[in-house]
Symmetry: C2
Amino acid sequence: MPRVGLNIVQIVQTAADIADNQGTEAVTLSGIARELSVRPPSLFNHVKGLPQIKRELSLLGVKKLFKRMNDATKEKSGDEAIFAIANAYLQFTREHPGLYEYTIALPKPKDEEIERESNKILTLILTLFHTYSLSEENVIHAVRGFRSILHGFSSLEQKGGFGMPIERNDSLHYMIRVFLTGLNKTE
Amino acid sequence: MPRVGLNIVQIVQTAADIADNQGTEAVTLSGIARELSVRPPSLFNHVKGLPQIKRELSLLGVKKLFKRMNDATKEKSGDEAIFAIANAYLQFTREHPGLYEYTIALPKPKDEEIERESNKILTLILTLFHTYSLSEENVIHAVRGFRSILHGFSSLEQKGGFGMPIERNDSLHYMIRVFLTGLNKTE
DNA sequence: ACGAAAAACTAATACCATTAGTTTTAATGT
DNA sequence: ACATTAAAACTAATGGTATTAGTTTTTCGT
C-alpha cells in the first residue's frame, strides 16, 4: 500500500554496471547510492548489505552466462557446438568483465540457488562432450579442460596477459581446435 | 647510523603470509601492522602505502613462480618438460594461493620490473614450445593455450569450481596430454 | 655520554559499511 | 478530496579502513 521507491533489481543492475565499467573494486554501497541519487543507508531498506548485493551479482552473472551458452548451442552439435559455446562465453566475458568475475568468485558458504544455476552450465558442457567417444572419467577430465581453457583465456585476456601482437580470437580458436583434435586422438 | 626497526622485506613477507592464509581481501595495512605489533602509520616509514605493498607482492610472486618453473625444466625437454613445468605451476598456486593472485592481478600502470620478470616466464614457455614443429604464429597460440590451461585450472580449483569426485591432478595431466597430442596432429 | 637520524607514536582527516531512530512521502481506503 | 499508515529515505552515530602531519622515542655511531 505505501510509498514505492527503489527496488533490489535497480540496485543490483546499478552494481553490475559499476562492476563492468569501473571494476569489481568499485562496487561499494556509497558508489551505488551516489549513482541512484540516494544516501547509503537507504539501500538497507531493500538489501541486507554489500554481501547480499555481491551474492545477487553472482546469481545474475551465472544466469546470464548460462543463457548465452545455452542459446549458442541450440540446433548445433559436435565441434560446431563447442566453438559456438566458446564464442558465446568470450562474448559474455568481454561485455561483462565485472559480472563475470562474480560468476567465478562465488559466495563462501555455498548458495543453493547459485549452485543450481552453476550446475546448469556444467551439465550443458557435459552434454556436449558426451558425443565424443570418451570414458565416463575422461568426459569429466575433458569438461574440466574445456572450462579451464575458457576461464583461463578470459581471465588472462582481461588482466592484459596477452601482449604479443597476435589476434587473440585466433589463439582461442586454435587452442580449442588443438584440444578437440587431441581428444579424438588420445587414449 | 640511526635506529633500526622494521624493513620492507618483513612487511611484504607478512603481507604474503596473510594473503596465502586469509585471502587477498585480508591484506590490509592494519592487519599487517597488527601482525608486526606496530601501529599502522609506522609502516609508512618503510613503504609508500598499500599500493606499493601490493606491487611488491606481485613482483615477489612472479619471481618465485618463475624460479619454480625454471628449476622444474632443468635438464628436461619436450613433453617431459611441459609436464614438469605444469606440476611446478600447480605446486606454487596450491602453496601460495594469495601470492599467485597477485601474479595475475598486476599493478595498473604497467610496472617495468614486474613486466621483465613476467616476460621471463613467457620466454621460458616459449622456448619449450619451440621444440614442437609449429609455425611462428602457432607457437604463440600454443603458448597462450598452455597458459590458459594452467591459469584456468589453478583459478577454478582455488575457487572450488571442480566439484565432481574425480582426482583433479588426473584432470590436469589428461588435459595437458590431450593438448600436446592435438598440437602434433593439428594443421 | 651524546647527538642525530629515523623509527614509532598520537592525533586528525576522510573514506567506507552498518545500525538506530526520525522524518517524509505517497498509495490506498474512506 | 483527504486522512491513514506502511515503508522509503533521511540524519546521526559507531567502528573499521588508509593516509598525513607533527611529536616523541630510540639507538647507532662517534
